[in-house]
Symmetry: C3
Amino acid sequence: MPHLVIYYTPNLDDAIDMRQLCRTLADVMLAQTDEAAKPVFPRGGTRVLAYPATHFAISDGGAAGRAAGGSGDYAFAYLNLRMGRGRSSAVHQQVGLALQKACETFFEPVFQQRHIGVTVQIDEGTEVFDVKLSNLHPLFNKN
Amino acid sequence: MPHLVIYYTPNLDDAIDMRQLCRTLADVMLAQTDEAAKPVFPRGGTRVLAYPATHFAISDGGAAGRAAGGSGDYAFAYLNLRMGRGRSSAVHQQVGLALQKACETFFEPVFQQRHIGVTVQIDEGTEVFDVKLSNLHPLFNKN
Amino acid sequence: MPHLVIYYTPNLDDAIDMRQLCRTLADVMLAQTDEAAKPVFPRGGTRVLAYPATHFAISDGGAAGRAAGGSGDYAFAYLNLRMGRGRSSAVHQQVGLALQKACETFFEPVFQQRHIGVTVQIDEGTEVFDVKLSNLHPLFNKN
């Protein structure tokens, strides 16, 4: 944890650099510090994975967009961050707002060009079993 | 919201028109009205995204299906709808039954031809942060 | 149910046989029995689906891995099992540990070769609507 999974319409691959968005959002998460000035997220455990849908249907399929002078080729991205339990509500809001701000900047050119919806949601995990196998974490816990 | 994500085995792409299923299910959701005769879901926020798995394993891998005279090439679709909080239990059931009925119709030819499982589940979101950036919603909120 | 979805970085497709991992994990689940010596999971309802991400960002992007003498090409797999409600905590732990053990064996060669994180989490479903359409279950309920 944290795991940020991005579900999106494949037409976005022509409009933005999704790989760069993944990197940007990972960096945003890694930069977050909590009330005690400690990193919110473990460096070795921060991941962003993005998945273009193979098939999709958005809203009315394009009619209203075309009527408004657009292409009707709606785009959509759903960013779902799952983080471990125990952070404060203030930290949840801080992380969410930081991701929101990054998305506003990143998607701004797309908003100028087409009809698009971007949703950012954070879930606090409620898993009943949880284990990590990792030789990544030790890279950052040595010193 | 709502977001309906379909996880499925890629052998279904040869059996049904998954793109059409996405459209059909989006239309089913857009047609739902609540106890006050208002739309259950926002028109600009209704999305269906479908993802064929790259790798998969289903049940016993095919032995029982072949023993029953089938191909053993099992198919599977998992429809997971996530909706916002605050709808009544009656609305949850109504939406679920409407999706179920649409699936029964859509998958009926597949059920005649092969062994398949289709699961429809609705989750009520428990997100701790939630924000939407959208120029889609205003298309439907003008009047 | 159960549904095990594997989200992973595509570089793992060069390192392991993900299809075989799906089969192995399905078999692990099918082999689980509860306190009453009954199968934990229905044979016809056990599914594993694996999805390589199209884009991703992991941890610091590779710097620490390269500094430690590795390639910096981090790998990651997130195994998320969702099961129905009502099993005991002991069963949750048993299933989780069995999946963990299978992953330890399966990923051991990868851990020798590169920096990788593998997370196994089990969620107990909290769905507000749930229906199964299936001609798979009857294959195993005949006798």
